[in-house]
């Protein structure tokens, strides 16, 4: 274990200390544990001190426990969105309120979003109430294309310490929509990626490197070193089959850990992705060719990838990447089911699968004794638009579901016939 990894492990151990809280029993619920093929019916989930103490039928409820009556309601792990810009963007149109991307300056692959992340972001609060436990916050671009920089793992459900693991992966962008920054060709993007990894590899164990032969600055090479060593995943944001196959080739040639993000045409390379053990983070609602790189878009992309044995996780697109990072996951997962993915496998793509991809399965992703109690209670199928979340447990504590949107809602509720303007309607 390298010193860096050891330090990260120590930080994680500290971060996952139990949180003192009340004992809660969710009883008579249909529990999607994600450890079994079928959900448990009429089951109890017992939560103590921020952790799941047990799950199953006929669990005794300790005296003093607060009981949440399930009445057959559905309990799932809280969700994970594998590609957001939560905490980096408050209002996308305002540059002063956006920290996701740099387009000039010195920083290439070394650009790291960790110092910008704002735990008090409205969008994070909204995502928590919409059912998100975890999210990846990824950089939108750097001055050293095609590398976008280092992303972070957020524990959205944890109010005080949202940034759980900075530097969780290196991100790079490849394809027709992003090639301009690399000179105008995706070929240049791949050459620059391969060269950067080669420079980082040559730097390994040697203090001497000739600046004249190097494209990259010291700080960028340092950021890429763990990628070149296979210690840190490289997330390749690409959609066209040819680029996805280049990513597979890179993983093979350079022993780099690759995660494909985007992956609109990934179904065309599904068998090879599975063979190379490369996961895909995708938005399964993309069924039409928004770009030329999307010509092969299909509604059953997720189903085809899963059937081929590819580990899949979901993201959402457009404004939802930041502003509905939790809410919109339900739609895209439901559309994946409507187009051939089993319900359980769609739920896995926003819980246990990302836990495996981002290597946090020791604490997140399933409902089992010892895991963190980030749980959701639903009044119906979570993917159905007419269903609602009735309770959110974050670290074993029930979350106040009030958000700024709820305060606005209550201020303008129909039927309010007060004499004073809405601004006087203050919540208690």
């Amino acid at each position: 274990m390298s010193p860096r990894v050891a330090m990260a492990a120590a930080v994680l151990a500290m971060a996952s200390l139990p949180v003192l809280g009340e004992t809660i029993a969710i009883v008579d619920a249909t529990v999607h544990t994600m450890t079994q093929e079928q959900p448990l019916r009429n089951a109890t989930v017992l939560v103590r001190d921020g952790r799941i103490e047990g799950v199953g039928a006929n669990l005794p409820v300790p005296s003093g426990a607060r009981v949440i009556e399930g009445r057959g309601r559905i309990v799932t792990p809280a969700f994970m969105n594998s590609a957001t810009q939560l905490g980096l963007t408050e209002v996308s149109s305002i540059s002063a309120a956006s920290d996701a991307t740099v387009s000039s300056g010195q920083l290439g692959a070394a650009f790291d979003v960790r110092y910008a992340l704002n735990p008090r972001s409205l969008a994070i609060r909204q995502a928590r109430v919409d059912g998100l436990s975890r999210a990846i916050a990824y950089p939108g671009g750097s001055a050293g294309a095609p590398f976008a920089g280092l992303g972070a793992l957020l524990h959205v459900a944890r109010d005080e310490a949202v940034v759980e693991q900075p530097g969780i992966a290196m991100f790079a962008q490849v394809g027709g929509e992003t090639s301009t920054a690399a000179g105008g060709s995706r070929s240049a993007q791949w050459q620059l990626i391969r060269n950067a990894l080669e420079e980082a590899r040559l730097q390994r164990g040697s203090a001497r490197s000739s600046p004249r032969d190097s494209f990259l600055a010291r700080i960028d090479l340092a950021a890429l070193k763990p990628v070149a060593e296979g210690m840190l995943p490289l997330v390749v944001d690409a959609d066209r089959e040819s680029d996805i196959r280049q990513a597979i080739a890179l993983a093979r040639d350079r022993k780099v850990r690759i995660i494909v993000k985007g992956g609109v045409e990934a179904w065309r390379a599904a068998a090879d992705l599975a063979a190379a053990n490369i996961p895909v983070v995708l938005d399964p609602s993309i069924n039409l060719p928004l770009y030329f790189d999307h010509l092969g878009a299909r509604a059953d992309n997720a189903a085809l990838l899963h059937a081929a044995g590819v580990l899949i996780a979901f993201e959402v697109s457009s404004i939802h990447t930041t502003f509905n990072a939790g809410f919109a996951l339900r739609d895209v997962a439901g559309l994946a089911v409507a187009n051939g993915l089993a319900h359980r496998d769609a739920l896995a793509a926003i819980t246990v699968n990302p836990a495996r991809i981002w290597k946090i399965e020791d604490r997140y992703g399933v409902i089992a004794a010892g895991r963190e109690a980030d749980l959701l209670v639903w009044d119906g199928d979570p993917f159905e638009p007419m269903s609602s979340l009735v309770a959110v447990l974050a670290q074993g504590r029930e979350v106040d579901l009030t958000t700024r949107q709820i305060l606005l809602r209550d201020r303008y509720l129909p039927g309010e016939k007060e004499q004073l303007p809405p601004a006087y309607r203050r919540s208690e």
């Binding site: 996308s92 929509e177 060719p289 010509l295 739609d331 089911v337 993917f383 007419m386 809602r409 129909p414």
Partner: protein
């Protein structure tokens, strides 16, 4: 040329009773809405169809169980239970399935934001003419690529009528067009016969952001409004000039005895100069063209309602009305629809206060709530949009059902388009635009099994012969599945 223009003016508006009482021939009122690109739409080949045993949402508040609906000669002929099965009528068994009116999307950029699109490629990008903040002289139907797969995807999602609007960078974006989702060879083959054109207008951040950043007016909201008011003043004067000209010439023609000295000269006076930009604005003032206004904030919406009052026109719908819920009572009083998304918020300041209950609160105030897409992705899932908005309203304590929410994507958008007597409702005499859903349309798992447009089966999920595919997607190796 003059004859052509006079022919264009031939449409006559209703005359005052006073004029009729005096036994005088009504004087003509100028029409400014003539369509130089008329519809060539013809319904697809069709047969009469009886859909039986469905759960039916009629679009205006009723839900019927085990309902039958008869489509005859392109119209809805009858709705009921256990209808007679006439000879020669094809029967579609729909037990367990749901039937709704064809959905209506009042806000798309299909055909101008053509897939696969290239954001920075001017040759393929025709959402708006971008040379001026007032391009009221343009008509978006002159730019539409009928082979955009977005039309077919909308059809597959149960949409039978949609409006293509220009974009929101200009203050006056030009004329819109209402289309059927039948994939015609040209836009003319898709144009909804008799549908009014719209005028796209925009307020708030987009126009001032676009022109202001180029150092051009408008650079502010007050600049946008001043530009609008100046344009409406000009349009009013233009309309007066034309009406005056027509009245004078008409008087001459009516009574030759009144031709005094100069009469001949007056009759032969050349018509006023025609101005395409003012034509569009004057057509709004005389009610021929409907205003579709991009406007997010309640402040901006309230200003726009006042401007409409000042110049005597009505706004058909406020689009992207993210803050409509804050002034829903005023929208109801002005009879203006609010076209909204269920959950978009945060991406700019005028969208910052978006709440999921927006449509439900607009509806509860008695105003006309509409769900719109603005995107070919969302345009496939309008019922999902309505479902999310209904669910939010229910969480807020409102008594809202599917039979109400379906109005937001059927009869209410029909009102916004001025087509409420023809589409958006399942009732005898209405156009037979009908969707048979695999199940509850408010479920994410349901799909449009069959889509009828004017009684013709335009899409059938079970029949490849009724599954159109766009030229643009044909033959791409990337779309082939392995043999």
């Amino acid at each position: 040329m003059r004859l052509v223009w006079l022919a264009v003016l031939a449409a006559l508006a209703a005359q005052s009773a006073e004029t009729r009482d005096q036994g005088r021939t009504p004087s003509p009122v100028a029409s400014f809405a003539a369509d130089p690109l008329p519809s060539t739409y013809r319904p697809l080949p069709r047969e009469d169809v009886l859909i039986v045993d469905a759960t039916l949402l009629d679009g205006v508040g009723a839900k019927l169980a085990d309902a039958d609906i008869l489509l005859r000669d392109g119209k809805i002929a009858n709705i009921g239970t256990n209808l007679a099965r006439p000879d020669g009528v094809k029967v579609v068994e729909a037990a367990g399935r749901w039937v709704t009116p064809g959905l209506i999307d009042v806000h798309t950029h299909n055909g101008t934001f053509t897939l696969p699109l290239v954001f920075e490629d001017p040759p393929t990008w025709d959402v708006s003419e971008m040379s001026s903040p007032n391009v009221a002289e343009t008509s978006v139907d002159h730019a539409i690529n009928a082979r955009d797969p977005g039309f077919i995807l909308a059809l597959q999602g149960g949409v039978t009528t949609l409006q293509v609007l220009p974009g929101s960078a200009p203050v006056f974006g030009g004329r819109s067009v209402v289309l059927k989702t039948i994939p015609g060879r040209t836009v003319q083959d898709m144009k909804f016969p008799g549908a009014q054109q719209g005028l796209k207008m925009a307020c708030g951040e987009n126009p001032k952001g676009n022109w202001g950043s180029k150092g051009q007016a408008p650079t502010s909201r007050q600049g946008e409004v001043a530009m609008m008011r100046a344009a409406w003043l000009g349009a009013r004067e233009y309309m007066r000039t034309w009406n005056h000209y027509l009245a004078e010439n008409h008087e001459d023609a009516r009574d030759p005895r009144e031709r005094g000295p100069g009469g001949r000269e007056r009759r032969d006076r050349p018509p006023p100069a025609r101005d395409l930009q003012l034509d569009t604005l004057a057509a709004v003032l005389n009610g021929e063209v409907r205003v579709h206004l991009h406007c997010y904030s309640s402040d901006d919406i309230a200003v726009m309602l006042a401007i409409a009052d000042e110049f005597g026109f009505r706004i058909a719908a406020i689009h992207h009305a993210v803050e409509a819920y804050k002034i829903a009572d005023r929208l109801a009083a002005a009879n203006v629809c609010a076209a909204v998304w269920p959950e978009w918020w945060g991406f700019k300041m005028e969208a910052f206060d978006g709440i999921k209950e927006n449509a439900a609160f607009v509806d509860a105030a008695g105003a006309c709530a509409v769900m719109h897409s603005d995107s070919p992705f969302i345009g496939q899932h309008l019922a999902l949009e309505a479902a999310k908005a209904v669910a939010a309203g229910r969480r807020a304590g409102l008594d809202l059902g599917r039979e109400r929410g379906i109005a937001w994507i059927t009869s209410n958008p029909a009102r916004a388009l001025g087509l409420e007597d023809r589409i958006g409702r399942l009732a005898p005499g209405y156009n037979a635009d009908v969707v048979v859903w695999s199940g509850d349309p408010f479920s994410i798992y349901s799909k449009a099994d069959q889509v009828y447009v004017d009684g013709a089966l335009a899409f059938d999920r079970a029949d490849p012969k009724r599954q159109p595919e766009s030229d643009l997607l044909l033959g791409h190796p990337a779309r082939e599945t392995r043999k």
